[in-house]
Structures are given as structure tokens and as C-alpha cells.
Symmetry: C2
Subunit: 111 residues, 2 copies
DNA sequence: TTAGTTCATCGTAAATATACGATCAAGAAA
DNA sequence: TTTCTTGATCGTATATTTACGATGAACTAA
């Protein structure tokens, strides 16, 4: 994985899409987001009961979603409430909307 | 990474979103898709000239995009033309549209 | 204070992903 | 035929991801 060639540069859009996509690239994280987005908004460690995975593993996935900005947590001792970060969610939505709407290009394609 | 707990099950939507997201989770693949989606539709190995990466590496990324169904290739000896797979692109677009439109849930959230 | 609950973090093992050069296969051109 | 071009695949080194159990930190309840 050592890069010997000149480094590739990416646009902000490319980095942003890839970043959000990476957060969504594991089914359990998609599932968590679905749970949080659903009626059971502001879930907490009940995730551990719904998803048969070690608590530490779920915490790790939550961290990934946090760092991607897709969720936010609020400490409510001794628990922690997680929920969708609506603002960033909208941004991500618009980002992907823009990205996918690119793909309906024009003529020129004879594949 | 050994799973000792009972296996987690995922819905088709969860798997599908994660699968497409994984394909989009590397900026160079996003870049490639943008190039293919753009005016330079049906690009080929000119990718190697635009993106300073080893030819084998680019081929590897193309393979990932192929397997995700986002692009398709047509052999045009001695070259290969790649372009967006419009049908699957639409499907992916709808998939993410549906996924992201979930996140604007109702009340109940006091985060 | 002591014990219990909740969740993050640490340490670690195994699996995947990423990048490269080298090689191989298919076909075009000589 | 031989040679060249194009692009896939192989082999490999390193980095990252994923999963777990164990431990630690913060706070509540006895």
C-alpha cells in the first residue's frame, strides 16, 4: 500500500461522497441508522439488545457514524441517547442527490 | 474478527445500501464515476493518464465498480470502454433516495 | 462509602482493502 | 510469424476494518 506514484488529488465533493459512503459501507451501520431514523428515534444501548453484537463493537460502529456526522449523542446519565444529526443528514442527502443525478448524462455513449 | 455471537441478519435494503456505499467508499472510485458520468462518457484506459495510479490499481477499482454494477465494460480491441450502467445507476439512486428520506422522522427526538 | 449500570476505550486477532510491479492473454499491426 | 498495445490478473507488502473480551470512567443507587 505504499504510494510511489505522485499523490492523487480529490475534489471536496469526491472526498465528501467517499466519506459518507464509507460510513454507510457496513450493513450494521445502515441498520443502526434505520433504527435511529425510525420511530424509535433517540435510541441508546437498546441497540445492544436488538443487534446481537458485542457492546464494544456496536460502540465502535456508533463512533464511526458520529465521526461521519450522521448521528449525534447526548449524555443522559448513565445512558447515552443517540439520534440522527438532521442537519448533516440533509447535507448528505443533497450530496448524494447531486452525485447520482450526474449519471444520466447525454448522448455519446455507445456501450 | 471472529464472530462468536449469533450472526446478525440484514434486510435486503440494508445489504444493498451497504454494498453500493462500499463501492463509493474510496475517493478514486467516486472520481472514476464522475469521469464516466461526465461528458467523457465511455472512457477507457485514458483513466490511467488522468489518474496518477498504477494501471493495475485502476483496473482493481474498475473491477470493484463493475461488481457493484455501477459501470459496465465493452471490449473494443485492443481497448475496453467503460461507462455508467444507467439502469443500475437509477436503481442505486432510488435506493439512496429512499434511505435518506427516512431520516426526517417525526417528533419524539429531544437530542 | 460501596456496589451497580452504562458506555467508551484498550489490546488484540483475523479478515479486507489498497497499492504496487510483474506477468499473462487477446487482439492489432508489422 | 513476431511485435506492440491494452488491460486483467497474480503475488505481495502494508494499512485499515472488524470483532471480541477486558478494563476503565462517569454517574446513580444503596
Amino acid at each position: 500500500m505504499q504510494r510511489t506514484l505522485s499523490p492523487v488529488t480529490y475534489s471536496n465533493q469526491e472526498e465528501a461522497v467517499a466519506g459518507i459512503a464509507k460510513a454507510l459501507s457496513h450493513p450494521v451501520r445502515v441498520k443502526i441508522l434505520k433504527l435511529l431514523a425510525g420511530e424509535s428515534c433517540c435510541f441508546t444501548g437498546e441497540l445492544t439488545e436488538v443487534i446481537p453484537m458485542a457492546q464494544s463493537t456496536i460502540s465502535q460502529h456508533l463512533k464511526a457514524l458520529l465521526e461521519a456526522g450522521l448521528i449525534q449523542g447526548e449524555i443522559d446519565p448513565p445512558k447515552v441517547k443517540y439520534c440522527i444529526n438532521r442537519e448533516n443528514w440533509k447535507i448528505a442527502q443533497a450530496l448524494f442527490e447531486g452525485f447520482f443525478s450526474q449519471g444520466h448524462a447525454t448522448a455519446g455513449c455507445d456501450c
